[in-house]
Symmetry: C2
Subunit: 164 residues, 2 copies
DNA sequence: TCTTGAACTTCAAGTTACTTGAAGACCTAC
DNA sequence: GTAGGTCTTCAAGTAACTTGAAGTTCAAGA
């Protein structure tokens, strides 16, 4: 057994197997080595690369954005300054997201807290603290990023709030 | 002028106007009052509701999840305990996202920092610190949420990293 | 008052990033 | 050696918008 099967890679990276094949198809992952029967086999490099890809995707960067980052990681011939500038840009975006997410965390936490104290135990109609969550942010409006893209589908979370 | 036009609402909430119409169409926003000519007019309530919706969407909660939150906010007859439990669940999800995002922030920040010092000034091939970003997370694997959904399309950010 | 151009209207089709399904080959374990 | 899970490819479906077309409305200036 020279490497990991697609299912194992999927498990280790928190990805669905069809998604891995999809990434290979669109060139985000390199074509995997095949076994005699044609099944894909993966190594540590692949685990790393896919972990990075998933992380980036999870916070809403597009496939194309992730592609350029992955290229950066893989290509040491690239100008260091160029890489730094790209990374800096993304750092700003990530920090903006972080601020929003922190605001959301505070909002939901205080909602939960006031539920505990105010309604302690029974049903009650005076629990509209969630309104806080709807307050406009500190700065002008909601555009967080530099070049926001569409999509960002999937997210995790059961059934309710988010963001901030 | 009894209220805001759709363009103004869009601006205040960082939403595109077609998206607002789309939300109305799928019932995420209530049908807006119309002027004589049929144009939509909005009030403060709508600004609040849409702000909340956008915030939730931005951090990857699905339309259906947002719908249930919006209902929660709007419906004070609902059991306070039920609301609290929902909110709690989401708080956990948000906190998990927060941890991942913080890890990403550290990763990119240290990449930028090492670019500054190591390659200070010119191109150089020894800048592969981005590998840190690809390390598996502290805990088992990448599944952050309770009931992760598809999609989350759009994201902001110019062209590179994300997540963690 | 007229008119021009931005902002609005609806509806249909396109896009991204997957997911789901079908039909069949492979492979490990009993 | 065969059952059941995992794999293969390919096609079609889905979510959440976006983009475009074709026409209407409205505020402001000549």
């Amino acid at each position: 057994m020279p490497g990991l099967k697609i299912g194992t890679l999927a498990e280790r990276t928190g990805t669905n197997t069809p998604t891995i094949r999809y990434y290979e198809k669109i060139g985000l992952l390199p074509r995997a080595d095949r076994q005699d029967g044609g099944q894909r086999r993966y190594g540590d490099e692949d685990v790393k690369r896919l972990t990075l890809i998933r992380r980036c995707r999870e916070f809403g960067f597009s496939i194309e954005q992730v592609r350029s980052l992955a290229a950066l990681v893989e290509d040491p011939d690239r100008s260091c300054l160029e890489a730094r500038d790209l990374a800096r840009e993304h750092l700003m975006v990530v920090r903006a997201k972080l601020r929003e997410l922190q605001a959301l965390e505070r909002g939901i936490a205080s909602f939960v807290a006031s539920c505990e104290t105010a309604c302690a135990g029974g049903p009650g109609p005076d629990c509209t603290i969630l309104e806080d969550l709807a307050k406009p942010a500190g700065r002008a409006n909601g555009a967080v990023g530099i070049g926001q893209r569409r999509d960002r589908r999937h997210a995790r979370g059961s059934d309710m709030v988010g963001r901030a």
